[in-house]
């Protein structure tokens, strides 16, 4: 028999013992002397995190790929023995590790995905550049270097309609063109891997599962805009992503995909890691650049935009992890096949199957949440879906047919954001949710500008008062007007976005607020 | 807010009230000097620590100047009586408008730490917590500006507001008009 066991060792499964599962399986295989028939490898996220720890098995013929969840991690030897027995009896197709469960790969959760960014994630061993190369890594970079036509790359990115995946959704082609046209040879490419939104783990998934795709995207960008220096700003709370990146950078340097004269071209580009100390605001691009320079991470007004004056005063291209990871696929597929592209979401909350999914842009929320996620676990009805984290808002259940794209979500008063998607069932109090996010923004405000520093505190206190049933209708009015004021006057996206969870729930779930205002105070 | 009815034939019923404040606002009121005589012609002073002997807040008061923040249980009872029986409630002076100096005890977060600090920690040896239920009113946890307790109609800041500032508020009110307050002479705190 020839087979490969892929054990998910990304953060979520790891927290459920994924790494020890890998270890005990490898040991058992070695002890049984099965190494050449049965390979065990750790891979990035396999998708349905709620069923972790996850294990995939590719048995020859290749078509026979199975996915198993809730694997008991302790006894690898027994698992291997039962697997060998099934192989001997030709019952592999029906095999399932004892105590685990078989996950149907024909379920819409898998079938409706379109994996461009996550194509290799879960397939390859992220610590092995050989596997990445075998899967096609760095081929698009090579092609871009050979063609040596940055203007054409920019044009292709522009026409693809790719927008930044970090939250603000700025057209990537325009940003690249702005940096490319800056004079001078010293430019910087920065990858924003700060991912601080509560409930968001898309970027972590990419970095842990397939770091080379991100590095390749950065190198393509660097060649295109004329930068020779690359920086990845990653939060300290992501130790595994950091380790994977370190390994990947060293391997890419060793194979000549980073460094000087990449692939024999005249392109020089190297990448350094910068580890952030975990302030959410440091994900904001100007604060991030301050932090890279070793200063206090506080946003500054734009202009000047990073393209004009970024890190160390140099023209800087800053994009999100997922944005960079889109490039190899975009260039490989070409505009037509790439189409509108995809978006990666981390699906969490009251949903049967949570995890990381990548869906075609424009998929409806209902498809994602009900068809793919399987709806709420207890069979309750969905009340709303939250997108965009602390700067985002809620989509009420009756609008779940909204397609997931930048414009549609914005017209409902929320944002695409970076990809956090939280499902809430009908037991959820929306005022509670609004308060949760406001308390978050209050703590994470950098304190530089008055409306955000002091306004979020007043808003949080008002929400507390409402939840304690101590508020009057006038307090609700004050809540709403102060929300608008903070949104309109704050210096950066944190303060501007902080009121959105409140404004959005006031818009769609005002009754939840009114129910908390004591009757005797109502006019 | 509806304007006070513009022509009032009868004499106005005016009150002044002293909550948690130093009485400086009332001293400033007395600085109105000879204008007080004019005031006495236009209004009956129906309740005031400086101009009337009455102990209970009366009904149907037209205008009441409230000095001081709301700091103890007596203040709380009185301000509620004032609101229930007064047409125009004027928050009179910075302590009423902002809690000001009495409000500085709020930084100690609670009545208990305040009493401990004042009567035990800072006492020279023989410190004792005052405790006389029914005689000495209990401190509230925090001193609050009047408008955080009951609705206020007119704000008259100042520590204390000068006599001319007081007059700029009371005069139009007596005529049944809302005072227009702006500029450093009329609304500066402090």
């Amino acid at each position: 028999m020839k087979a490969c066991l892929r054990v998910c060792t990304a953060a979520s499964c790891r927290s459920r013992g994924g790494a020890s599962l890998q270890h005990s399986l490898s040991e058992a295989v070695a002890r049984a002397g099965l190494e050449h028939g049965l390979r065990v490898k750790g891979v990035g996220c396999l998708g349905p995190c709620s069923d972790g720890p996850l294990l995939a098995m590719d048995a020859d013929p290749k078509a026979q790929t199975q996915l198993y969840g809730s694997i008991p991690v302790a006894d690898g030897a027994q698992l291997v023995a039962s697997l060998m027995e099934a192989a001997a009896q030709h019952t592999l197709a029906h095999w399932c590790p004892a105590g685990g469960l078989r996950i149907d790969l024909n379920h819409p959760f898998f079938q409706l995905q379109r994996r461009l960014v996550l194509e290799h994630c879960g397939q390859i061993d992220p610590t092995s550049i050989e596997e990445a190369l075998a899967a096609g890594a760095y081929r698009q970079l090579e092609r871009v270097l050979q063609n040596n036509n940055p203007a054409a790359v920019i044009e292709q990115v522009r026409r693809s309609g790719l927008r930044g995946r970090g939250g603000a959704g700025y057209p990537t082609g325009l940003k690249w063109a702005a940096v490319a046209q800056m004079p001078g040879t010293e430019k910087v490419v920065v990858c924003n891997a700060d991912e601080g939104d509560p409930g968001a783990f898309m970027d972590r998934t990419v970095l842990e599962g397939d770091p080379h795709t991100v590095l390749e995207g950065m190198a393509i960008a660097a060649h295109t805009v004329g930068a020779s220096r690359g920086l990845i700003y990653v939060r300290a709370e992501y130790p595994l992503a950091i380790a994977r990146l370190r390994t990947a950078i060293a391997a890419a340097q060793g194979h000549g995909w980073l460094g000087t004269a990449i692939a024999g071209s005249r392109c020089n580009f190297d990448v350094e890691l910068r580890v952030g100390a975990g302030a959410y605001v440091c994900g904001e691009e100007t604060a991030l650049m301050q932090s890279i320079e070793g200063k206090r991470g506080m946003p500054r007004p734009r202009p000047p935009y990073p393209a004009e004056r970024g890190v160390f005063g140099l023209p800087t291209l800053i994009n999100n992890v997922e944005t960079f990871a889109n490039l190899p696929a975009l260039l490989r597929l070409g505009l037509e096949t790439y189409g509108r592209g995809t978006k990666v979401f981390s699906l969490t909350g009251h949903v049967r199957r949570s995890g990381v999914i990548e869906v075609p842009m424009g998929t409806s929320l209902r498809t994602v949440v009900e068809t793919m996620g399987g709806g709420t676990p207890a069979g309750r009805s969905i009340k709303a879906v939250q997108t965009g984290g602390p700067s985002g808002g809620c989509v009420p259940a009756h609008q779940l047919d909204t397609p997931v794209d930048y414009e549609s979500l914005q017209s409902l008063g929320t944002i695409m954001g970076s990809g956090g998607m939280v499902v809430m069932d009908d037991t959820t109090d929306m005022v509670d949710i609004a308060r949760f996010f406001m308390a978050f923004s209050r703590e994470e405000s950098c304190g530089k500008c008055v409306p955000c520093r002091a306004g979020t505190v007043q808003l949080d206190n008002l929400l507390e008062q409402i939840l304690d049933r101590r508020a009057t209708p006038e307090d609700l009015e004050q809540l709403e007007s102060l929300c608008r004021m903070v949104k309109d006057t704050s210096l950066c996206g944190l303060g501007q976005g902080a009121p959105r969870p409140v404004l959005s729930t006031l818009r769609h779930f005002r009754d939840d607020y009114l129910a908390l205002v004591p009757v005797e105070t109502r006019r | 807010m509806e304007p006070v009815s513009p022509t009032i034939p009868r004499k106005q019923r005016l009150a002044t009230v002293w909550l948690a404040g130093c009485s400086g606002c009332h001293m400033s009121f007395l600085d109105l000097d000879e204008w007080l005589l004019e005031l006495a012609q236009q209004a009956d002073i129906v309740y005031s620590p400086v101009a009337c002997d009455r102990k209970d807040y009366p009904a149907a008061v037209d205008i009441c100047l409230v000095e001081g923040g709301v700091g103890n249980t007596d203040n709380l009872v009185l301000i509620q009586q004032v609101r229930a029986n007064t047409t125009v409630l004027v928050s009179f002076g910075d302590c009423a408008v902002t809690a000001n100096i009495p409000g500085m005890r709020n930084m100690l977060e609670g009545a208990d730490p305040v009493l401990r600090r004042a009567y035990l920690e800072l006492a020279d040896g023989s410190g004792q917590r005052p405790h006389a239920p029914g005689i000495v009113p209990e401190l509230l946890e925090r001193v609050l500006p009047v408008h955080e307790v009951v609705p206020v109609d007119v704000y008259l800041p100042g520590c204390p507001p000068s006599a001319s500032r007081i007059r700029a508020v009371v005069e139009p009110l007596l005529r049944g008009e809302w005072p227009e307050l702006s500029g450093p002479d009329l609304i500066r705190f402090g």
């Binding site: 500054r300 007004p301 | 902002t98 100690l108 206020v152 800041p157 500066r188």
Partner: protein
């Protein structure tokens, strides 16, 4: 010199192309309220008092750093802006402990003046009464955090003009406070030259001369501008 012409409220202004909207407004004698801004120091656009509306632009722009543009139409005092400014001042009053009646800067305080300017006769937002401290460790000066509005003028003047960088901002959000040295008592920070510039530019009574009592602090930020000019022109006797 390249000139731009623009319209601010109902005044036409022509001004050098590298000017800010705030400078253009000053040129036209239109007062836009400011707090963190101080001529001679870098602009940080943090207090948001100088936000203005610009026709054709949905977002409010801080006049202190927004460059003028040809044909720009600026509105500096719309009802919306007036309400915003009053709310900002209320936010500042309620987040600190400003007891004007007993403050060293009473009568000469920029915050107090702004409250008058925006028509704040009371705060519609509740007072928060934070627990803050006073640093009296410096032999000449004092720092009362209760009165600090976090404008960072002291931080900037000490860094940019005096070159001592005694001050910085510590912590974040509502916990922000101005710190001396590495969060040491001011008097323990050897970098301090005792020049007093921070006291001079502080808009409130937060930084003061020891011994000053109620009403006695008179700041004169114009002295900073005189110093900057003298340095620039290398002329020390005006």
């Amino acid at each position: 010199m390249n000139l731009y012409s623009l319209r601010i409220d109902d005044h036409d202004v022509a001004i050098a192309a590298d000017s800010t909207v705030l400078q253009a407004a000053q040129e036209a004698s239109i007062a836009i309220p400011t707090l963190c801004f101080l001529e001679g120091l870098s602009a940080v656009a943090a207090c948001r008092m100088c936000l203005v509306e610009v026709s054709g632009n949905d977002t409010l722009l801080p006049a202190c750093i927004t460059p003028v543009q040809e044909g720009m139409q600026v509105h500096t005092a719309t009802p919306r802006l007036q309400d915003i400014r009053r709310t900002l001042i209320e936010l500042l009053f309620t987040e600190g402990n400003h007891v004007c009646g007993i403050c060293v800067a009473n009568g000469h305080c920029e915050l107090q003046n702004l409250a008058v300017e925006v028509g704040m006769d009371h705060s519609r937002l509740p007072y928060r009464f934070p627990d803050r401290h006073v640093d009296l460790s410096h032999p000449l000066f004092g720092m009362d955090h209760n009165r600090c509005v976090l404008c960072t003028r002291c931080v900037r003047v000490c860094d940019e003009v005096e070159g001592a960088h005694v001050w910085d901002v510590g912590w974040r959000g509502e916990h922000c406070r101005i710190i001396a040295g590495l969060e040491e008592p001011w008097g323990a920070v050897e970098a301090c030259t005792h020049c007093g510039k921070c006291v001079e530019v502080c808009p409130t009574g937060a930084l003061f001369h020891r011994g000053d009592t109620t009403d006695e602090k008179h700041s004169d930020p114009a002295r900073l501008q005189a110093l900057m000019q003298a340095r620039q022109q290398q002329r020390w006797n005006p």
